[in-house]
Every structure is written in C-alpha cells, then in structure tokens.
Amino acid sequence: MEFKAKSSLSSKIPTASIADIVFLLLIFFMTVTVFRRHIGLRVTLPAAKATQKIESRRLISYIWIDRSRRINIDDVPVESLRELRILVKEKLQETPALIVSLRVDKEVPYRYVAETIEELKKADALRVNFGTLTKD
C-alpha cells in the first residue's frame, strides 16, 4: 500500500481563540445595549423623509400622547400639564442635556402638541425631537 494514511498526524481545529472573539462581541453588545426601554402607549407615529437618528440615546426622555389624549412621560401617566412640567424639570436636573422625544399619534389634534411644547419651554427642556418613522 503506497497511499497509506499517516496515522500519526492528528488534525485539530484550534478553539482557544473562540473565547476571545466572543468576548469581543460581548463587550460590543454590552456597550451598545441601553436598558431603559419603555412600554409607552399605543401610538401610530407619522412618517417623515427627513427622519434622523438620535445619537445619544441615554439622554432621551419620551413623552407619549395617544389617540385618547392620554399623556405619559417615561411610563409615568401625567394628569395635568403642570405635573408634566415638574416631572420634566426633575429629569432635567438629572441630565442637563436632556432630549425630549415626543411620540404623538398622528391623529391627535395639534392643540395637545402645542400645549406640551409650551410646558417644555417653561420647564427649560429646549431640545425637542418629534418621533417619526422613516418614509422613502
């Protein structure tokens, strides 16, 4: 038998570096993950072509206004707009560079949005973002 297999040669896939690769992936996901996820209210956001990503997600507070005019800030129901101002002011003290993202149902009359924006102005939360979906 001329083509005798070399029985002494053992082929092995090196697995020692798998842990390193996975650690790298793990670190990536750990830094990217933001744990503050809110339940929010059921809203249908309007779509806009000029929609942009907000880079600093850790600075965002969300205000929801749904079709039955319920207002919710970071999952805390708000009864009056005065209450909203106090809550926003508190959040602003924690994160001075706060961005308020308004997630308003597209069928809501503009009156409620205008009133909310007025309260935000009074609370000195001047960085506002209108939450929209991307439209092609």
Binding site: I18, A48, T51, Q52, I54, Y110, R127, N129, G131
Partner: protein, 135 residues
C-alpha cells in the same frame, strides 16, 4: 518528602477553559436578545427659551400657515404639501437669513404639521420657529 515528590512530578495542573466559551456565548446571547436595535429616530428641533421674544424684521420672516384641514398657505398662496420644500428652498436662496414661522391651527392633525415640518427640514431650513397660536 512526599509533598516534594508530588510537586516535582509530571502531573500538570490546568485550569479547564473549555467551558469558558460556553459561558461567554450565554452572556452574548443574553445581550443580543435585550439589545433593541431600532434606534430612536425623529425630527430634531431646539426651542427658544420662554418669555424671550426676539424681534425679527418682518422681511426676514416667512409665515407658513396650516389650517384645520391640513392645507398649507405660504405668502397668500395655497401650496400643496409636496411643493413646500421647493417654495421654501427658493425663498431661502433669495434671503438666507429667513426665519420660517410655522403656524398650525390647533385643530389640525399632528400628522399634517409633521408633513410640513418634514418639508422644511428637507429644504434645509435651519431656523424654524413653531409659532404659538393663542391658546
């Protein structure tokens, strides 16, 4: 002497690392699942501080009106929403210092206001003011 013999012996001491990958994979899967990959999106705007009323020469202001039915009025002319971008772009070319004042009827739908704001953003209008209707 027995201890010394053991130390010098051929037996190798190893930390088992085979399961390390498994543990890390488990952690990785956990973070993969919890990560929300849909980033926050929207149209950004910086509001003016309250009570501060800056007088702007009326020639530097472009009023954009939206009525309750979502119709848009610019300079006494009804403009279809899709054409707002073009009209505003032209106006901005003529006068780069232009401040666009978006006046929305309180009964207008939020969607109509966003549609116009979107057009203004597409027209690269940097100075947009949300005028306050009499509440």
């Amino acid at each position: 002497m027995k201890l010394g013999k053991k130390r010098g012996g051929l037996s190798e001491i190893e930390i088992p690392t085979a399961s390390l990958a498994d543990i890390v994979f488990l952690l990785l899967i956990f973070f993969l699942v919890t990560t929300s990959m849909n980033p926050a999106k929207g149209l950004g705007l910086t509001l003016p501080p309250p009570g501060e009323q800056v007088k702007i020469a009326s020639k530097n202001v472009l009023n954009v009106y939206i009525n309750a039915k979502g119709k848009v009025l610019i300079k006494e002319e009804v403009v279809p929403v899709e054409d707002v971008e073009e009209v505003v772009k032209e106006q901005l070319k003529e006068n780069p210092k232009l401040v666009i004042s978006l006046q929305t009827d309180l009964e207008a739908k939020y969607e109509d206001m966003i549609n116009v704001l979107d057009q203004l953003k597409l027209a690269e209008a940097k100075r947009i003011s949300l005028a306050v209707p009499q509440l």
